[in-house]
Structures are given as structure tokens and as C-alpha cells.
């Protein structure tokens, strides 16, 4: 066996707050802006350590993003932190106009993204954010898979002169292997290499893709697992590369099947004349089943077993 089991790290949310504390230590220009969300954003320690570097606006997400844009326009390094479900919906017009169109380098941090809130239900799920934001010009979209990618993208955001939306969940995430221990915006990470099936995943679905790769390996099937952490700008070269070397592609995301990573990959393949067995594993267009994040994932086939079966189906094995 070459694919080793993964060791568990902390939640990406925890890694975010730890990274922000480190950055704030050296950079007094960093400001977290919260909408009564310092607790859910794990920013309580940060706020205690740097009380001058947090701005609380109360439960008012439109104002959160407008104020964040105003602050950013004066040269401050802004991390507007709010549950992804509100940040990418309630304040969508502010994201579009005040941040993206006005080109203010705000880092929008969507916490407890996707179905992290599980059984709290659809009001608290964020399954549309990629679809909504990918259609805006001038905003990077990054969904880090593990602690390493989270740390790196937060460090990137602190010095970027461009708007960025970053989302992650609150569950402890395993440390992923990667061919190269580096992070570059717009350049996917190769978790492991293979030639039969390619799993192109983002965020908290990369780990189940890796588990599927391990299960397939037991059957002698080799899988390439890609962490497509940057959804915009999309690393089309990597998508085309795995289409050339593999016999099937499965995309996985904690997002609606509509308008997310899967459709972005499909469009890339089609427009480049690549026909390949292909399946989008995401949350279907239906009333999302009730349950924990893990139960919801498993219900929709986003698990090691589910993804393994989908790969076998595509490979007709």
C-alpha cells in the first residue's frame, strides 16, 4: 500500500484564527470585522490579544461588507468574517459592488461553510456561494482542504491587493499529503497521482476523495486526487492534464450541483474537446436531507465508499 492513512489536524476554522493571530502580531494593519461572529469564527482569543484589531458591527451582514470595503479602501488588511450562508447571500450585493466591482482587497471569510451546520438546516447551509460569486468579475474564490492550505491562503489574503472569498468548515480535518509542499493561488495541489480515475475535489471533500483512492488502490485501481482549492481563477491546465491521463473524472464539492466546481470542470472539458466519463458529486437540487455534515455527505455519496463506487461505475468495473 502506498497511500497512507491520514493523521487528523485541527479544524480549518481553528487554523484560520491561529494564523490571523500570528499575522496580527507582525502587522497592526490587520483588522477582523465580525457580525456578532467572533465566537463562531473562533476569534475570541484573537480579540482578547488584539482588541484594537477587531471591529464588531453586530448582526448586520450588509453593513459588515460595506464597512469592510470602506476600511480596506484606506489600506487596512481586512478579514470580514461571518457564516458563509449569510456572507454570500445577505450581503451579496455589497460583495458585488463594494468589494469586487470597487476592487477593494477585502478577504471575505465564510465560516461554517457548506453543510457544516448540519441539522440546523437549510437557512444555515451555504451551497450556492461558489455559483453566486463565480459569476462576479474580480474576486478570487478559495476553498482550502486542510490546515496547510488554510494557513497559506490566509497568508496570501493578508498581502493580496485583490478581493478574495475563502470558505471552510469547523470539523477537524486530516493533513493531506501533496506532491509539492507549496500553495499557489490558481494552481491545484496534487494529493496523489494515478492513471485510472481522477478525483477533483475542493475543501472538506478532498479527504473522502483520498479515502476512495485508498479503497480503489486495494482493488488495483490507481487514482489521481486533486485539491482544486482555487475555484476562481480555475486551474484549467490541471483539469485538462488529468483528462488526458485518466479514464474517468469525478468532481466532488460541498456545494450545489449547479454552478460549482463540477460544472466549471465540465465546461473546461467540453470547451477543450475532451470527452471522458464524468460525474459531479455534490448536493443535488432538492431539499437537503437533515443530518450532520457527515451524514449529509454520506447520504449523497460523498464518502470513501460512495466515491469508490462512483469511480467503479464510471470505469465500468
Amino acid at each position: 500500500m502506498s497511500l497512507k492513512p491520514l493523521s487528523l489536524g485541527k479544524a480549518n476554522l481553528e487554523e484560520y484564527s491561529a494564523t490571523l493571530i500570528e499575522l496580527a502580531e507582525k502587522n497592526s494593519n490587520i483588522l477582523a470585522v465580525t457580525s456578532d461572529s467572533r465566537g463562531s469564527g473562533k476569534l475570541v482569543s484573537y480579540a482578547e490579544k488584539y482588541p484594537e484589531q477587531i471591529v464588531e458591527v453586530g448582526i448586520a451582514e450588509q453593513n459588515l461588507v460595506g464597512v469592510a470595503a470602506g476600511l480596506a479602501s484606506t489600506g487596512k488588511s481586512i478579514f470580514a468574517t461571518s457564516p458563509a450562508c449569510f456572507l454570500a447571500t445577505r450581503s451579496l450585493e455589497q460583495v458585488k459592488n463594494d468589494v469586487a466591482y470597487s476592487n477593494q482587497p477585502v478577504a471575505l471569510i465564510g465560516i461554517s461553510a457548506g453543510v457544516s451546520y448540519g441539522a440546523l438546516g437549510t437557512t444555515h447551509h451555504s451551497l450556492h456561494d461558489i455559483a453566486a460569486l463565480r459569476a462576479f468579475h474580480n474576486i478570487d474564490i478559495v476553498v482550502p482542504a486542510d490546515n496547510f492550505e488554510t494557513r497559506e491562503v490566509i497568508k496570501f489574503a493578508a498581502q493580496s491587493d485583490k478581493p478574495i472569498f475563502i470558505k471552510f468548515g469547523k470539523k477537524k480535518m486530516p493533513h493531506l499529503p501533496r506532491l509539492e509542499e507549496k500553495f499557489e493561488i490558481g494552481k491545484a495541489s496534487v494529493v496523489c497521482e494515478g492513471t485510472d480515475v481522477a478525483f477533483i475535489a475542493c475543501g472538506e471533500t478532498v479527504a473522502p476523495a483520498y479515502e476512495a483512492a485508498r479503497l480503489l488502490e486495494e482493488k488495483g485501481i490507481s487514482s489521481e486526487v486533486i485539491s482544486m482549492h482555487t475555484i476562481s481563477p480555475l486551474d484549467e491546465a490541471t483539469i485538462l492534464r488529468v483528462a488526458d491521463k485518466c479514464k474517468a473524472i469525478v468532481t466532488i464539492e460541498e456545494h450545489s450541483v449547479h454552478g460549482g466546481l463540477g460544472e466549471a470542470c465540465a465546461a473546461t472539458l467540453m470547451q477543450n474537446g475532451k470527452a471522458i466519463p464524468f460525474k459531479i458529486m455534490a448536493i443535488p437540487y432538492e431539499d437537503t436531507v437533515a443530518g450532520s455534515q457527515e451524514e449529509i455527505f454520506s447520504h449523497y455519496g460523498i464518502s470513501g465508499e460512495g466515491l469508490k463506487d462512483k469511480a467503479l461505475e464510471l470505469l465500468k468495473l
Partner: protein, 277 residues
């Protein structure tokens, strides 16, 4: 900053109104009524109050102006051109194919701080900038202008609450209160009244002025920060379509473009009038 006399400023208002009408006519588009109602406010802000110019536009201590009622961009364009941010002749391309002078403020145009036009955005942005000034102990002030119909946008009230909480006395919101919006009178569409009591209850210092009176505007806009710890809300009572007799207080001129005859009539009116405006 050059100190203008009242008469010089009144002449500038006439010049701005003529110019904005000219470019609206050329473009065959524009928010004529609201441009004309807020012209005097922009005139006084740029010529008598704010520390901002093409020379200091990158200076971090410049005063900021955010036009929340972005649709009145034609008035802003002619004032910015007069300040020397760009040649006025650029406005001949306004709203034309590939022109950067589009129908709402954009940072592609020199002198514009934020892209606005969707309503309810200027006050939160301005509160953010004013808060940055407080954090940096910087001397600059932030001015924003809202339309009265715009007060129905809930984001304004989120920002009003927060600006007061952070004691942003360097923040000034000016309401171009011409009482008309596209559907009709504010009070009939969805009444914002009482505006003064609402903002006072939110912790703001509220001042009412004749928003087409240069002298009054000079007085109230030059006393910022006026009261320690409180943001200022100026209810500028204006007339929609101000300065063009047939447009004044008539709702159809919200974004009406004058015909050739109407345009001539408006210009001739100014040529023959004494310094009323």
C-alpha cells in the same frame, strides 16, 4: 483652497446645471431631476468644504466623498471636471460605447472613490472609512450623499446604528431631500418620515437646511466635526429639477431628457436670469 465668494459659487451652480444638462442631452440619458436638486450641495462640498483635489487624491488624509445616490452622477461628473480631475470635454462620451463615463459613479473616473449606484451602499462604506480615520487618529472627514427614496434601504439603518455606536463625528450624511422618487412622493411610496426624529433616535446630530441655498450649505458643511462623538445627518431640503422651471418638482424628470426645444428654453432661461441660483 481658493476661497470663493457667495456670488462666485452661485455662478458655479449655474455653470454646473448648464453643463450637466448639455451632457445629458448629448448622451440622451441621465437622472436630470436628482442632478439638479443636488448640484448646490456638490458645489459647496468641492469648492468650499472638502480637502480633496486632483493633486492630493492619493493623499491618505484627503477628505472622502462617497455618492450613495449614484444615479445623480452627471452632477458629480461636471463638478469633478471643474475641479480639474479630467477635461470636461471627456463628458461628450458619457454613456457612449466604450466610454468610462457610465451612468453611475465608477473608480475608472479620476476623483471617484467608490463604485456606487445600487442604493443603500454609501453609508456603510462611509462609516467604514470614518472608522479607519478614527483608528488611525487621522484628521480627514467623510461625506456621503443619499437620496430620500433611498432611506427605505435597510442597510442605511444598519450603518446608522453602527456609526453612532462608534461615535463617528467625522462622518456626515447629506440627504438630498427633494421629496420625489421615481414612483412619486416619498410620503406616498413608503414614508421615511419623521426623518429627523429617526436619526436623532439613532444617536445622530441632525441639521435641516435649504439644500439649494449656497450660504446655508456653506455654514452647516463647514462646521464638521460639529459635535464630539456624534455623526451628523444633514437634511438638505431641495427641489427636484431645481433651476429649470418646467422640471421643478415634477416627477417625470427623474430621468427625463429634454427635447431640443425644452433644452433651448432651459439654457435661455439661465442666460436671461439674474443670479437667483
Amino acid at each position: 483652497m481658493k476661497k470663493y465668494s457667495d456670488i462666485e459659487l452661485k455662478l458655479k451652480s449655474v455653470k454646473y446645471r448648464k453643463a450637466l444638462l448639455k451632457y445629458i442631452k448629448l448622451a440622451n440619458a441621465g437622472h436630470t431631476g436628482g442632478d439638479l436638486s443636488c448640484t448646490d450641495i456638490l458645489n459647496v462640498l468641492y469648492n468650499d468644504v472638502m480637502n480633496v483635489s486632483p493633486e492630493n487624491f492619493k493623499d491618505e488624509n484627503r477628505d472622502r466623498y462617497i455618492q450613495s445616490k449614484g444615479h445623480a452622477v452627471e452632477a458629480l461628473y461636471v463638478v469633478l471636471a471643474d475641479q480639474g480631475f479630467f477635461p470636461e470635454s471627456d463628458l461628450e462620451t458619457m454613456c457612449q460605447y466604450k466610454s468610462k463615463y457610465v451612468g453611475h459613479p465608477t473608480r475608472k473616473v479620476k476623483g471617484i472613490e467608490f463604485n456606487t449606484g445600487a442604493l443603500g451602499h454609501g453609508l456603510p462604506i462611509s462609516a467604514g472609512i470614518a472608522l479607519a480615520a478614527k483608528k488611525d487618529k487621522a484628521p480627514y472627514r467623510v461625506f456621503t450623499m443619499l437620496g430620500d427614496g433611498e432611506l427605505a434601504e435597510g442597510s442605511n439603518w444598519e450603518a446608522a446604528m453602527m456609526a453612532s455606536h462608534y461615535k463617528l463625528d467625522n462622518l456626515v450624511a447629506i440627504l438630498d431631500h427633494n421629496t420625489l422618487q421615481i414612483t412619486g412622493r416619498n410620503k406616498d411610496v413608503c414614508s421615511p418620515h419623521p426623518i429627523d426624529a429617526k436619526f436623532e433616535a439613532f444617536g445622530w446630530r441632525v441639521v435641516s437646511v435649504d439644500g439649494n441655498d449656497i450660504n446655508e450649505l456653506r455654514r452647516v458643511l463647514n462646521e464638521i466635526p460639529a459635535e464630539t462623538g456624534r455623526p451628523t445627518f444633514i437634511i438638505a431640503n431641495t427641489v427636484k429639477g431645481k433651476g429649470v422651471s418646467y422640471m421643478e418638482d415634477v416627477k417625470k424628470w427623474h430621468h427625463g431628457v429634454p427635447s431640443d426645444d425644452e433644452y433651448k428654453q432651459a439654457i435661455q432661461n439661465w442666460m436671461h436670469r439674474k443670479l437667483i441660483y
